[in-house]
Structure formats: C-alpha cells, structure tokens
Symmetry: D2
Subunit: 299 residues, 4 copies
Amino acid sequence: MSFKEPTIAWIGTGVMGAPMCGHLADSVGAVRVFNRTKSKAQPLLDQGAVWCESPAEAAAGADLVFTIVGFPTDVRAVYFGKQGILTTLKQGAVCVDFTTTSPSLAMEIDEAAKQRGAAAVDAPVSGGDVGARKAQLSIMVGGDAAAVDRVHPLLQKLGKNIVHQGPAGAGQHTKMCNQIVIAGTMIGVCESLLYATKAGLDLETMLSSISKGAAGCWTLDNLAPRIVKRNFEPGFAIDHFIKDMGIALAEAARMRLALPGLSLVHQLYVAAAAQGEGSSGTQALMRALERLAGQTADA
Amino acid sequence: MSFKEPTIAWIGTGVMGAPMCGHLADSVGAVRVFNRTKSKAQPLLDQGAVWCESPAEAAAGADLVFTIVGFPTDVRAVYFGKQGILTTLKQGAVCVDFTTTSPSLAMEIDEAAKQRGAAAVDAPVSGGDVGARKAQLSIMVGGDAAAVDRVHPLLQKLGKNIVHQGPAGAGQHTKMCNQIVIAGTMIGVCESLLYATKAGLDLETMLSSISKGAAGCWTLDNLAPRIVKRNFEPGFAIDHFIKDMGIALAEAARMRLALPGLSLVHQLYVAAAAQGEGSSGTQALMRALERLAGQTADA
Amino acid sequence: MSFKEPTIAWIGTGVMGAPMCGHLADSVGAVRVFNRTKSKAQPLLDQGAVWCESPAEAAAGADLVFTIVGFPTDVRAVYFGKQGILTTLKQGAVCVDFTTTSPSLAMEIDEAAKQRGAAAVDAPVSGGDVGARKAQLSIMVGGDAAAVDRVHPLLQKLGKNIVHQGPAGAGQHTKMCNQIVIAGTMIGVCESLLYATKAGLDLETMLSSISKGAAGCWTLDNLAPRIVKRNFEPGFAIDHFIKDMGIALAEAARMRLALPGLSLVHQLYVAAAAQGEGSSGTQALMRALERLAGQTADA
Amino acid sequence: MSFKEPTIAWIGTGVMGAPMCGHLADSVGAVRVFNRTKSKAQPLLDQGAVWCESPAEAAAGADLVFTIVGFPTDVRAVYFGKQGILTTLKQGAVCVDFTTTSPSLAMEIDEAAKQRGAAAVDAPVSGGDVGARKAQLSIMVGGDAAAVDRVHPLLQKLGKNIVHQGPAGAGQHTKMCNQIVIAGTMIGVCESLLYATKAGLDLETMLSSISKGAAGCWTLDNLAPRIVKRNFEPGFAIDHFIKDMGIALAEAARMRLALPGLSLVHQLYVAAAAQGEGSSGTQALMRALERLAGQTADA
Ligand SMILES: NC(=O)C1=CN([C@@H]2O[C@H](COP(=O)(O)OP(=O)(O)OC[C@H]3O[C@@H](n4cnc5c(N)ncnc54)[C@H](OP(=O)(O)O)[C@@H]3O)[C@@H](O)[C@H]2O)C=CC1
Ligand SMILES: NC(=O)C1=CN([C@@H]2O[C@H](COP(=O)(O)OP(=O)(O)OC[C@H]3O[C@@H](n4cnc5c(N)ncnc54)[C@H](OP(=O)(O)O)[C@@H]3O)[C@@H](O)[C@H]2O)C=CC1
Ligand SMILES: NC(=O)C1=CN([C@@H]2O[C@H](COP(=O)(O)OP(=O)(O)OC[C@H]3O[C@@H](n4cnc5c(N)ncnc54)[C@H](OP(=O)(O)O)[C@@H]3O)[C@@H](O)[C@H]2O)C=CC1
C-alpha cells in the first residue's frame, strides 16, 4: 500500500454511507460506487466517484470493498446475491462491512471471503449521522489481525475510537453490547419522565436534580430534553433500533442466553412501531408508554 | 434565625446520617441526637452532641428536626410512634426527612405537622456515603416554599445540587425518578456484560468501545469495572434498592401508572436477594442474571 | 353447638356477601348485620336480619362473626378500627374472613383474636357471584383445626369444595395461587386472540381448533367467547384483580420470591385500569393489549 | 382419487412422523419414505414402505407428499434443498407439511408449489406422541380449499379435530395461537406452585382447591402433578417449545405486534435451556424459576 493507492469500492450511500464515502474519496481519490437508489450517490459521482451497476461490478478488481446498507437481508443481497460482491471479489482483497448486522452473518461473509482467498472485516459504527459527517465515529472492529491492520489507516479517516475487538463477528457483537445498554437507558429514562408527569413534577426541574448523579447517562442528557420539548425526530430511527435488538435477541437465543430486559424493551418498541412511530427517533418509546398510561407527558 | 441559632434535633446516625449530622454540628453547634443503636451516635456525642432517649425527647423544643432512617416503617415509627416526633413537635418548627421513603408518607407527615402548626420538608438525597462525607449530596426537596427557604441554608452545609421540586412529596417523587433511571441502566449494563461474556469478547476491550458514546452512563463508568473485577461490595445495597423500587411501583400503581421495565428489574433484584445478595451492591444484579444464564462472566 | 344455635354476626353485604349471608340466615335464623352502606343490607333486614350500627356492635355477644368486605384496608378497618370487631369479640368466639386479602393481615387478625381468647379463620372463596348465589363456592380455609371444625358446618351452606389448607393465612395463600394461575391464562388467551386477529384468522374457527387440547383452560372456554363478542362486562372486575395480584406480589417480595410473569401481567392490568377499564371484567386486558398493538380484535 | 390409490411420499419418521406414516400405510398401502436417519424408518420399511434416498426421489411421481421434520431449517432443506421436494414435485401433486414451522415459510412453499402447478397445505398438529399413535391428533389446516379437500380423507386417518383455518399459513398461525396460550398457562402454573412452596402450603392440597375453578387448565391437570412428583420427562420438549415461541415472536414482530407475555416466557425457557433443560419437558420451566428463587419446590 506504500507506493500505489488501493482501488476502492463503496456500496451503500445513505444517511451514514454518503458522508463516510466522501471522506475516503477526499483522501484516496476516485471510488467505485453502487447504491440501490442511484440518485443518493449523485453528489459523490459529481465529485469524481465512478458509478457501477451492481455490487459485483463495483467489487471487480477492487482491493478494498466497503459496504454500509440497511438490514441484514440487504447485507446478504449485497454479498451473496447473484450480482453480489462475492461473485467477483479478487484474491487478496479485503471487504469491510459497516452495517449493523448479525454477528453470524459477519462470520458467514468471513468464511466465504476466505474461500476466495480474500478477507472480511466487520466494523459497525456508532456516533450517528453527525459522527459520520465529522469523521468522529466510534468503530468496533472484528476480523483477522492482518486484514484489520490493512484497513486501519482508512478507518482512521472515518472515526476516532477504533478498537479491534476480536475475530470475525466480534465487531458486531460489541455493537450489540452497545445497543443492549441503550435499551436499558431508554426504558429507564422514559418511565422516569412518565412517572414524573403523573406525579405532577416539572420535568425540567426534575431533570436538573437527577442528571448529574448516578442516574446520569447520554440518553438523559441528549434525548430527555427532546422528549420534554415533544421533539420525536430521528436521530436514530426506531425501525433500525428494532432491527438491532432483534439481532441481539436472535444471537442471544442461539447462544442460549436469556435477556429479559432487552426482550421487554424490544416488545415495547415493536408496539411503538405498530402505533406508527417506526421512523421516529428512539426517544418516541415515550409515546408507546404514554398510550399504555392513557396520558401524555405534555398534558 | 438572624440573631439566634436554631435548636436542632437529629434522628438517625447511620452510614449517611452520621456524617451529615456532623457537618451541621460543625456549623451550628450542639445538636440533640437520637438513634436506635446508641453506639452509632457516640462519635457525635463525643463532639458535643446531646443524647436524647427518643425522637419525642429530641424534638421537644427543637426549631428544626432532621431525620434519616432506613425504611418507610422506620420513618413512620419515628414520626407517628408513641415516642414519635409528632407528639412533641412545637409550633413553628420544621422537620426535614432525608430518608428515601414513600411520597405518600411524606404528604402524611406534612399534614400531621401542619395540624400542629409546624411544617415538613421531604429531602431525599443522592450521592452515597462519599457524597455525605464530602457534603456534596444532591438534595431533592419537597414542601411549602416558606419551610424550604427556612432550611435551605442548612441544606447547603450538606450538598451542592439542592433543588426545590414542589409541594410535600415532590422531593421523594424526584428521587423515585432517579431510581427508575438507574434501574434501566443497571439492567442494560448487566445484560450487556453477560452478552459479551457469552460472545467471547474481552470485557474491558468491549467497554473501551462503548462507554464514550450513546451507551455512556454513570453505571457503565462506575459499576461495570467493578463487575469485571468481580467486586460486588456495596456502594448502594440491593435491599435498599429493592425498597426504593417497591415504593416507586406502589406509588405508580396508586396513580394507575404501568412501569413494565421497572417492574421487571424489581423482580430480578428480588431474585438476587433471594439468592443471598441483599447486602451486596446493586451491581450484583449481574449474579442473578448469571444464574439465569447458567454461566458467570468471569468464566 | 348441638342444643343451641350460635349467635351470628355478618359484616359486608355486597355482591358476594349479600347472597352468602342470605344462605346462612335461611339455615340458622336471625343474623346481626352491618354494612357500610345500609341500603345494601335492606333485603336481608326485610327477611329478619338485625341491623347493627358498627362491626363492634354486630360482634358484641356473637359466637361467630363473618366478614366479606372489599380491600385489605376495609378488612383492617372492620377488625382493628375504633368500632372494630376486636373491640368487642367475646372469648371463645370464631371470626371468619371471606374477603380476598393479605395472608399477613390474616395472620395479624389471628394473633389479635387469640389475645382475646377467640379464634380467626381466613376463608377466601372462588366461584364468583353465581357461585355465591348457588352456594357452590370453592372455599380455601386457613386457621387452627378446632376453629375450622367449628365453622365447617356453616361453610357447607355456602360452598362445595371446602379445603383446610393449613394455619392462619393458608387460605389466603391458596387464593393467591389461584389468582397467579389466572394471570397466566389471561395473558396467554388475550395475546393469542390478538395474534390471531393480526394474522387474519377467524377467531371462532381458531378457538375451535385449540380449545380442547393442551391450551385448554377455563379462560379460553368462558372469557375468550366474550372477548370475541366484545363483551367486557364483569364477571370479576379488574380493580379487584389488581388488588389480588398486588397482594400476591407484596407477599412474594416479602418472602423474597421473584414472580416475573405475574409482575408483568399486573403492570398490564394497571395500564388497563389507567385507560378506564377498572370496572370492566378481567377479559378487558384485551383492550390494553389492543391499544399497545394499535389495532382492535374486532376490526 | 376414486378408482386409483394415490402414490404417497412421506418425509420425516421421528417421534410423530413414524406412527402417523404407519396409519397412512395401513390404509393406502405402500408409501415412499425418506428420513435423515434411515434406521428410524426401518419399522415402516419392514412393513412394506419403499425407501428413497432423498426428498426429491421420494416426491418424484408422487401424488401426495407428506412431511414432518423438526425445525424450519429442516423444512427449508426438505423442500428447497438441492435434493428437495420442489425439484421433482409433479404437476397436480399436493404436499402437506405437518411440521410446526413458520407461517411465512408455509406461504413460501405454497408459492413455489404453485409455480410448479402443484399445491401446498400446512397442517401442524397437536396432541403429542400419544395423539399420533392413537390417530387422535388435532390438525390445523391452511391452504386452498381444493387442495385441502383433496387431502382431507387422509387427514382423517390421523386425527379427529381437523379444521380448515384459511389460506396457506393459516394452519401454522393457528398452531402459534395454541402455543401462545400454553406459554401463559405454563408461567401461571409454575409461578403458582413456587409461591405455594415458599408459603409453606402442601402442593397437592393447594391444587385440590384451585384446579376445578377459574384457574382450571390442561397444564394444571396434566403437568402440575408431574412437577409435584419431580417428573420432568418430556412430553413436549423445551427445545421444540422454544422453537415454536421463537417462530411466533418473529411472525409477530414482522406483523408489528407486541406480545410482552410470550416474550417473557420465551426468555425464561431460553434460560431453562441454558441450564441444561432443553430436552426436558416444558414443565421444567419450574426448574428455571426455582433457580431464580434460590429454592426448589421439593425442599
Ligand atoms: N443512522 C444512524 O444514526 C446510524 C446507523 N447505523 C447503521 O448503519 C446502517 C445504515 O444506516 P443509515 O445510513 O442510517 O440507513 P439508510 O437507509 O439511510 O442507508 C442505507 C443505504 O443502503 C442502501 N441499500 C440497501 N440495500 C441495498 C442493496 N441491496 N444494494 C445497494 N444498496 C442498498 C440503501 O439504498 P436506498 O437509497 O435505495 O434506500 C441506502 O442508501 C444501518 O445498519 C444502521 O443500523 C449505525 C450507527 C448510527
Ligand atoms: N365478585 C367476585 O366475583 C368475587 C369476589 N371476591 C372477593 O370478595 C370480596 C368482596 O367482593 P364483592 O362482594 O364483589 O365486593 P363489593 O364491593 O360488592 O362488596 C364489598 C362490601 O363490603 C362493604 N364494606 C367495605 N368496607 C367496609 C367497612 N369498612 N365496613 C363495612 N362494610 C364495608 C361494602 O360496603 P358499601 O356497600 O358501602 O360499598 C360492600 O357492600 C373482595 O375481596 C373480592 O376480591 C372473591 C371471589 C369472587
Ligand atoms: N413431539 C410432540 O409432542 C409434538 C411435536 N410437534 C412438532 O412436530 C415436529 C416433529 O416433532 P417430533 O416428531 O417430535 O421430532 P423428531 O425430532 O422426533 O422427528 C423429526 C424427524 O425429522 C427428521 N428430519 C429432520 N430434518 C430432516 C431432513 N432435512 N431430511 C429428512 N429428515 C429430516 C429427523 O431425522 P433424524 O432421525 O435424523 O433426526 C427426525 O426423524 C416438530 O416441528 C414438533 O414441533 C407437534 C406437536 C406435538
């Protein structure tokens, strides 16, 4: 990698993928791009990226292939589909999946890549669209050390806290750990705000008492104020969070691990989605609890 | 209060009460003290506090009466018992209960105090024994403004973040909001660590990836490392936390409010206590989940 | 009891108490009656019962005192109040409480009765208002054998399946066991019907497949058809069921026993009550689940 | 079907499949059989069944193809695998899947069968191995009316309560409704027995009070006595029940339906499996709850 820039392919130019791909293009030059909806790749194409008609076409001849799509089924399609990456991935290439997806699927991709003499890295991120734009993502990395070392310089263009967690799947498992904690903080914060409402407290005054101590958390600092202002815009959308919790629960069941807390929160989010909040931010769990309570926190 | 120091009574000199009472004694001079077990008051007596044989005796003639005992039944005994505060509380006095107890009981005390021409303030605290010793408690205050104003200068000797939350009971309700959030963070953090264990991750490496982002919380920063080191010493004991969650759930049921998340965590803590962890720190929820999982995180 | 009829007092002439008292009056003659609302006792008075102005007055001189009021606080008032039974209960008397109430309270009454040289029996019932009218109640009996033997002939006027379960409180504990099973069947049946609705099944056809096999239960036979017909009339009212589950959970917490299933169902019923279903029948749990699902089963 | 017996293929000769296939063979003569482990088909072969080397070979030329394997992945392999039924299924044939599997998968099979000019029926059963041997299964049927009518005479050789529930998938959905109710009765009965144990009741005496009334259910009549005798043999194995609940929850999440009760029970069963009870009968949920309680019901 010292005297020649690698050829790079990028699949998935949505909310996260577009700015991330932009950072790489800035530093390594022209990137081969594919996205389901071409228009979302247009700004990148305008800056010199090369359009490809399929993941297979993008991956053909590439040294490094980056993907960040939506759901595990999308990942499966992009890698294992008829026009998927694994039909053309060249020997010695490394593919990196940034999508939050199933650890088992990450291991499956790793196996398949190895059978072609290539390698796979799973590298889910956290930090949201803001982190993606500012290149300040936290990146949780799984895969063989050699492959991880090879892509590390490029990951540094995208994030700050880049940690190699272990073999293929370990990045995804770590992201699941992250989401499990968030599920707990979300239910705690929403139930707390609802209790406060029923008890007749002033929500902001209540928050001023509790947010600096042992109850302190990112959710309390960042999402509770939005709930108080009845702002349920995403941030991170409920449908994506349901996907993530579903993955964690499926992995846990596979590993024979009971997670009663996560399971309950997952159900309540499914209820929120059933009530039409799938595209709202995760803080809209509040609304599902309010419907259960027959009362809203802004009454 | 300008030209004459008030006469102060203090009931309850346990882990929290002893250092708190010490701070007041430092600034206002001799305090009239009662505690169920006299020996725990001895250090204060050695510094000049005056021993009384009952809450009633302590409160007799006092301008301000402070209490911090264990459970709501203790509070009830101290105020409403045959030798209770309300048998001697003088007109114009203010009593302040720092115990984490039932908001309904706080309102009951307030009513009873008013019938004697006195006033009551509920002022539960957070910050633990460290906060008590350093006079850095967060204090959540409920009661009539006049009474709260009157005791405010003394509360400032004990804590930093002192917020008047509303009428009698509002301090306790705010403390319940605090505990509800903590219940969520505890289940999230413990299930996350357990998942990580089953998935074969290195726990500290995993924590280094997730603790600075959206999963960030006091519990992750302070209790997760203890769990990793298999340190289940209290901090805050499970039996007390079960009491607090029980109060919150009882109040919620009274207000007709469903809190499914808190309710589940409460049950899991009851299980932990059944397994002998009642005196362990709240992070020992981990152990109950490990027994459910048939696996420990230090395996 | 062979040559002289005992003097009988009866407190509580509501939905259950009125017909039960009527059966006793039919067989043993005039009964001394008290109820909070006198009008509800009028039909009994018209048939020869003697009105008393308080539980104390009714119990004065009685050999046997029967009570069936609503909530544990009512039981406490009726026994321990200023005009309560225990102020006048004569030596050698037996009091029988049919109310579904706290096992701990039953033990407390037993102790207090013994201190007066009397005895107490707890005898909660099941079978509903129909069972009460038809004298076909199931009666779960706790108390000392001698006291239980003494009242057994009269219990036989009220029910069929009369079982002595053990010492004071054992009747109430058995009733709790009954309610715990019902909580499980209720959530199972309601979630099943909701799933069927979402899946587009015809509810009655679905029920015809499942009701005779391993899913078979009283709730499926008796309440599922009411839900299908959108009949949410009580039967047994949600507010009473919430009381019962609250008692069971409080006893369980006291005994350090986690009951995660009961706890969840309790919360969902609290939600139902918050949504205005407190006086509906227990099958109206369906409505709380429907609100969660954003869909009704009759859509 | 009037003048010529249909050619029949049967795949899956396990606990359920072997006796069911035997009944058909008795009435229609030689059956073409495949099973993963040939030895389990030997008794049928001894009675004249014809061994085939794959599902494809069995289905080739068959008029009716019956399957009853274990898990959805097995069903997928048997139908869609390289040697699967759908590679040889002839025009006009009908395949019937008795496996308890995913409704979505049943619809997928139906689509694929139609593309070959054939038809598919989903027909999960209940009644256990006893019902299979006695030909007294309850059969929940989904599929097009013509196909269902065609196989109905043969289903009558296997069961009694045969109900056509609707289009493809409706049979499986109905079976899910059945399992959802059972999940509720299981948690109710186990928690009730555990409560009774902690409360010091005699379990059989307790059961004699509650089993005839509103708490009455198949689980109480059939499994509670086994628990009391510490008999945790299957009946229906926990691993299969976890599979079924997992299918129901996945379908529910897909339909955006929250089932908090089922979800909790599912988690507790996962815990039971983690503790080594996967092959025990479903009543061994008791053991997971006992571990949580730190106490066994036979203490
Ligand atoms: N948003 C956030 O804050 C965070 C998101 N994540 C995770 O990152 C991933 C991406 O999220 P986000 O960017 O918000 O989602 P988006 O839906 O905005 O982006 C996904 C992109 O992938 C494309 N895509 C999906 N399937 C295919 C396919 N088969 N072939 C080609 N392109 C495909 C989509 O195409 P099309 O344009 O046609 O829809 C879309 O442009 C998710 O897994 C999410 O959970 C992680 C951390 C934070
Ligand atoms: N209904 C049912 O299907 C079943 C009920 N039960 C249990 O039986 C008990 C009674 O139920 P039910 O009859 O339906 O309830 P009701 O409310 O109809 O009857 C309760 C009666 O008690 C009276 N009462 C309450 N407090 C006092 C008091 N302090 N002094 C005198 N009388 C008092 C009430 O008076 P007032 O008339 O003024 O309200 C009322 O008449 C409950 O604990 C219930 O859980 C058990 C099995 C089935
Ligand atoms: N047992 C019960 O009480 C009830 C069971 N059911 C359901 O019926 C189904 C069958 O249960 P049961 O008979 O107990 O289970 P078993 O495990 O005893 O039988 C399943 C059979 O299917 C065979 N099989 C699995 N995969 C394949 C494959 N790819 N190709 C060929 N054969 C295969 C197995 O082969 P091998 O011999 O190699 O393992 C085994 O003989 C399950 O879905 C269960 O949930 C429904 C109601 C009651």
